[in-house]
């Protein structure tokens, strides 16, 4: 249950800090930028509670670096992987595909595995930033277990570059105890933000969804790069900005402690919030919006390539993947995993919206990732 009044306890703060260490809180590229990551690591080492498991170097090495999204794994699986192989999983969290691309374009990311979304993979292949996967090192991958629409973006030019992780939708989550009526559309999302929910709404720090859903307000395509349509979306976003609580892709803390009442939200995170706080509900917009599929991929020049394959293979093991799904609440496209999950999860309306809602959704288009106008629009909106 939610309690607006209770201050954070010491216990809770440490838990938050631990979530943070596990990489589920706030965009963390500033760690790299400011050198604070090192400070954190030193501090973590000094606190017994926070110190990572000592890894024993085996043939795959003592470390594997994973770049992924917030609240997207079961940390217990990483611990089990480290215990089994000796490779400790170091997690870097990102709030947008643009951020991931920027890191890889700049070079020297140090990542072994990362989690790109469907529409970005062709760009990575064109820019020669990822390598084709060697299926002999991924015995747990079974192409036949996947629905094509959630798996086909992993294949570019006949070569397999990425294997599916999860799919989902981008909808909205709100605190129903504060709302006059359930949210059903992006029109309501922005209109209520500018009235009843002023100062209580969050949008993603992510051009695809924030611009895309603003486009849906007008009934345009989620993927539009039309100058006039983008101008409409920009005007809406600039008008909405003074009414926003925050622009962030890490929206769970503010929803959980009651600072914010409404947010753009990815499926599984909607599930996580609803599971812990039943007042928080989730829906996709009836005008449409995003349906997506995330993949595991290996960057060119990954420093620990063997460990990268070992980690992907471990995480797509149906047994392990089922544990992941139970923890993070995102739908899985792998039918072998779904066979292991409780039926109520497969019937859950948050994870699996009704067909007429799903049909209105669009997969992100590759052009949105590199379109300079969308990138510049988002940057202008943020510094407005």
């Amino acid at each position: 249950m939610q309690d607006d009044k209770a201050p954070i306890t010491r216990q809770k703060f440490i838990e938050e800090l631990l979530r943070y260490r596990k990489g589920s809180v706030t965009r963390r590229h500033f760690l790299g930028v400011t050198g604070l990551g090192t400070a954190m690591a030193v501090m973590g080492g000094a606190m017994p509670l926070l110190s990572p498991r000592r890894a024993f170097a085996q043939d795959i090495g003592g470390e594997v670096v994973l770049a992924t999204w917030p609240n997207y794994h079961d940390p217990a699986n990483f611990d089990a992987f480290a215990a089994e192989t000796g490779a400790a999983v170091q997690v870097n969290v990102f709030g947008s595909n643009e951020e991931m691309l920027a890191k890889l374009q700049a070079g020297g990311s140090g990542w072994d595995v990362f989690v790109p979304t469907n529409y970005t993979i062709t760009t990575y292949v064109d820019a020669d930033l990822i390598e084709p996967l060697d299926l002999s090192k991924l015995p747990n991958y079974d192409a036949a277990a996947f629905e094509a629409r959630f798996a086909d973006a992993g294949t570019v030019g006949g070569k397999l570059y990425a294997v599916p992780k999860n799919w989902g939708t981008t909808g909205m989550a709100w605190d129903s105890s504060k709302a006059k009526a359930p949210f059903t559309s992006w029109k309501e999302f922005f209109d209520v933000t500018m009235t009843d929910f002023s100062g209580r709404t969050m949008v993603h720090d992510y051009q695809l969804t924030t611009i895309g859903n603003a486009l849906k307000y007008f009934g345009y395509s989620f993927n539009s790069i039309d100058a006039k349509e983008l101008a409409d979306a920009e005007k809406l976003l600039i008008d909405v900005k003074p009414h926003l609580f925050a622009i962030t892709s890490d929206y769970q803390p503010a929803m959980r402690n009651g600072d914010a009442w409404l947010t753009m939200c990815w499926t599984g995170e909607g599930k996580q919030l609803n599971r812990d706080i039943p007042e928080i509900q989730f829906a996709v917009g009836k005008e449409g919006g995003e349906i997506w599929s995330d993949y595991y991929a290996i960057p060119k020049n990954a420093p620990h390539r063997d460990a990268a394959y070992a980690l992907i293979n471990y995480l797509i093991d149906p047994q392990v993947n089922a544990k992941e799904a139970l923890a993070h609440g995102f739908p899985v496209a792998d039918s072998r995993v779904n066979a292991l999950l409780p039926p109520e999860l497969l019937a859950d309306p948050i994870l699996h919206p009704a067909a007429e809602l799903l049909n209105a959704l669009e997969f992100g288009a590759a052009v949105t990732l590199t379109d300079p106008n969308r990138a510049e629009l988002m940057a202008r909106f943020k510094s407005a």
Partner: protein
């Protein structure tokens, strides 16, 4: 064997010179060159010679405005809080407690600023200070993700950097000057204004400069306590490099930030010199 003067100079300046050349001058030159370029098709940098990036700076005016308002405001607020504290530590406190109290000023530095800022998210968030204020009947306050929250964060984060220089200049103060002022009939407020304050100005200048320069480049605290809404130039820069991948525009903005900083700091130095000269004229020193 004697080393020639010339060689000695090279030996003394060599390491620092190389360091600055490799890690400051060279990167700055790259940034300058990039600032005249263009964004590559998929993001990044493409060579060109255009002033388009500089022409577009107006679209980031809000970030410059936030920085140019909040950095001086933060410096001033830090000074107003740090000065009495430093005065107390340097002049008033029993010397046997002094070291312990000075250590207390440093203690927060033992924890990463990141974690301390993270704690402020909860203090300023709905269940923190606003709840307290509401319970006291003081109304509905929203503090987190506002310019005020950012101001609190930067003053909190940079206070020790202001306390120490001021403390050092006050601690060196010759007490006999105050006695002389008193003997000549000056009331305490007057000896403070005419003796203590002018003599502590070098510390005030150093502390302000230190804090101000760091605040101009601040990124972390607006990011954490501003909710992505209170943008500093630093935040806009990170956005340009790490999200929209417009290196050319980001470089132009960096160059502009450095230039702005140089202008402001030069003006400030001049102002200090003038105060110093005025001080010498009335013969306080």
């Amino acid at each position: 064997m004697a080393i020639s003067r010339h060689k000695a100079r090279l030996l003394l300046l060599g390491p620092a010179g190389l360091w600055y050349a490799a890690l400051l001058v060279l990167p700055l030159a790259v940034v300058l060159v990039y600032s005249f370029g263009e964004r590559a098709a998929a993001g990044g940098y493409a060579p060109a010679f255009t002033l388009a990036q500089y022409a577009n700076l107006g679209s980031r005016w809000a970030a410059f405005k936030n920085t140019l308002v909040l950095a001086p405001a933060g410096t001033l607020a830090a000074l107003l809080i740090a000065y009495p504290l430093a005065y107390f530590l340097a002049v008033r406190v029993n010397p046997k407690w002094r070291t312990a109290l000075l250590v207390l000023v440093i203690v927060p530095f033992w924890t990463s600023i990141l974690i301390r800022s993270y704690a402020w998210i909860y203090l300023l968030g709905g269940r923190g200070i606003p709840t307290l204020l509401a319970d006291l009947g003081l109304g509905d306050w929203r503090l987190i993700n506002t310019p005020f929250a950012v101001l609190v964060g930067i003053v909190y984060g940079y206070l020790p950097l202001m306390v120490f220089p001021v403390y050092v200049s006050l601690e060196k103060l010759d007490k006999r000057l105050l006695e002389a002022a008193a003997d000549l009939g000056a009331p305490p407020w007057r000896s403070f204004l005419q003796v203590t304050l002018p003599l502590s100005l070098p510390g005030v200048a150093t502390g302000s400069m230190l804090v101000f320069i760091l605040l101009m480049g601040e990124y972390l605290i607006p990011q954490m306590l501003g909710g992505g809404k209170v943008f500093f130039v630093g935040n806009a820069l990170v956005d340009l490099f790490l999200q929209s991948r417009n290196w050319a525009f980001g470089s132009a903005m960096s160059v502009t930030l450095v230039a702005t900083m140089l202008v402001v700091v030069t003006l400030y130095m001049r102002f200090l010199k003038r105060i110093g000269a005025a001080r010498d004229d009335i013969g306080v020193m």
